[in-house]
């Protein structure tokens, strides 16, 4: 076996190390440039979703909830009075986790809107859950909801998307978590 030359061993290591350091430095610089727009965009988007699911409020205040099911909660205010809450909850659907934001109006106790934040469902099937034809079904509902198939939905029932019962069920589960969290807040408030 030929004797190993230290230069032969060192050079690859040094070159690789230099490449890693340079790449990391460049990435850190790009991150510095883009971190702000990304965070701003995310904030804008979630503010917009909040105003869609709880249109009656004028400003929103973040609440810290001691609830495992809810990842984020905002209190909606109008003229300094609480008019409702938005809850972000998730449930696992067919392709992965579905994240849902639910707005609940506390003057009526009804759901004021539901919006799907992220989903990984089958395009053309489960992904149709993001359409308003499906999410509008949740509006004005007040109690724990159930998914049904092939029938006219009665009160407290949600018509499943054709061919996507699992997705429909997951969205409903997430909404139910929000309803439960809302009821808990109301109870504690009394």
């Amino acid at each position: 076996m030929k004797k190993l030359n230290p230069k032969e061993i060192l050079k690859p290591i040094v070159v690789l190390l230099v490449i890693c350091v340079v790449v990391t430095a460049v990435l850190a610089a790009v991150n510095g440039l883009t971190a702000e727009p990304i965070a701003k965009l995310a904030e804008e988007q979630s503010a917009e979703t909040r105003s869609v699911v709880l249109p009656s409020a004028e400003e929103y205040q973040k609440l810290e909830l001691d609830n495992e099911d809810i990842s984020e909660c905002y209190e909606g205010l109008k003229n300094g009075k609480t008019v409702g809450y938005t809850f972000t909850s998730s449930a696992s659907g067919y392709g992965g986790t579905i994240e849902v934001m639910t707005g609940i109006d506390c003057t009526t106790g009804e759901i004021s809107g539901v919006s799907i934040l992220s989903q990984d469902e089958t395009p053309g099937l489960g992904a149709n859950a993001t359409k308003s034809e499906f999410t509008d079904q949740y509006k004005q509902k007040a109690q724990e909801l159930e998914v049904i198939k092939n029938a006219e939905p009665a009160d407290g029932e949600i018509q499943a998307i054709t061919g996507s019962t699992i997705t429909s069920q997951a969205v409903t589960d997430a909404v139910n978590k929000a309803v439960a969290a809302y009821e808990k807040i109301e109870k504690e408030g009394e």
């Binding site: 890693c20 790449v23 990391t24 990435l27 991150n31 495992e68 990842s71 998730s90 696992s92 067919y94 392709g95 992965g96 986790t97 994240e99 992220s118 019962t165 699992i166 069920q169």
Partner: protein, 202 residues
């Protein structure tokens, strides 16, 4: 807890099959599925590397990248960790477990650039971020299930391809096209598992 783990495991094999529904790891799926025994060897190696990489990258992400605000280095760190692990496993197997090396060793270098492995390590983190009940153990079970799902798809497909050898195929479709069409049919059969896991687990 156990119920959740079983559900995650079965879902990773059947409904979230990495090859047939997420299209990860298509190259080895089409390339080394001609014979059942190579298919088995390749998927065993993939499963092993998947679990090992998840075991290493998950704590790295949670304990090093997140606290220091370095999430953006995820891709580069993960790919280098996987490449390093594969090399290390190869050396260890060669030295201490020659029989295992002889049967799996040749598949190992192919795995570094297998998108299924990198995909698993990233997807489990995505799931963990969305679901607070998702732990390190769940992630490991999930990646093991993903590997077994890869194995099931490879072996089933190798069986289907065995049948093709004696079939009379139009000239333009010979080779890759007919392989892809058969893959499409196998994938149809996996669509039938929709809802199975949720149904079983209530």
């Amino acid at each position: 807890m156990v119920k959740q783990l079983v559900a995650v495991f079965l879902a990773a094999i059947l409904t979230e099959n990495y090859v047939l529904s997420k299209f990860l790891g298509i190259c080895p799926f089409l390339g080394v599925s001609k014979k059942v025994n190579t298919a088995l060897g390749m998927s065993a190696a993939v499963t092993f590397v998947m679990v090992l990489s998840t075991a290493v990258t998950y704590p790295i992400y949670e304990n090093i990248l997140v606290p220091f605000g370095l999430e953006y280095l995820q891709t580069i760190v993960f790919i280098l960790v996987i490449a390093g692990l594969v090399q290390l496993v190869e050396i260890i197997l060669k030295k201490y477990m020659p029989p295992l090396y002889n049967s799996l060793g040749i598949y190992l270098p192919l795995i570094t650039t297998n998108c299924a492995v990198l995909g698993v390590t990233m997807l489990v983190l995505e799931k963990a971020a969305a679901d607070p009940s998702y732990t390190y153990v769940t992630a490991l079970v999930n990646s093991f299930g993903a590997g077994i799902g890869f194995l099931v798809a490879m072996v089933v497909f190798a069986g289907v391809r065995g049948r093709l050898e004696t079939a009379d195929i139009p000239n333009s479709l010979k080779g890759l096209p007919i392989t892809l069409v058969s893959a499409s049919l196998v994938s149809v059969s996996f669509l039938g598992f929709a809802g199975l896991v949720e149904g079983m687990m209530g």
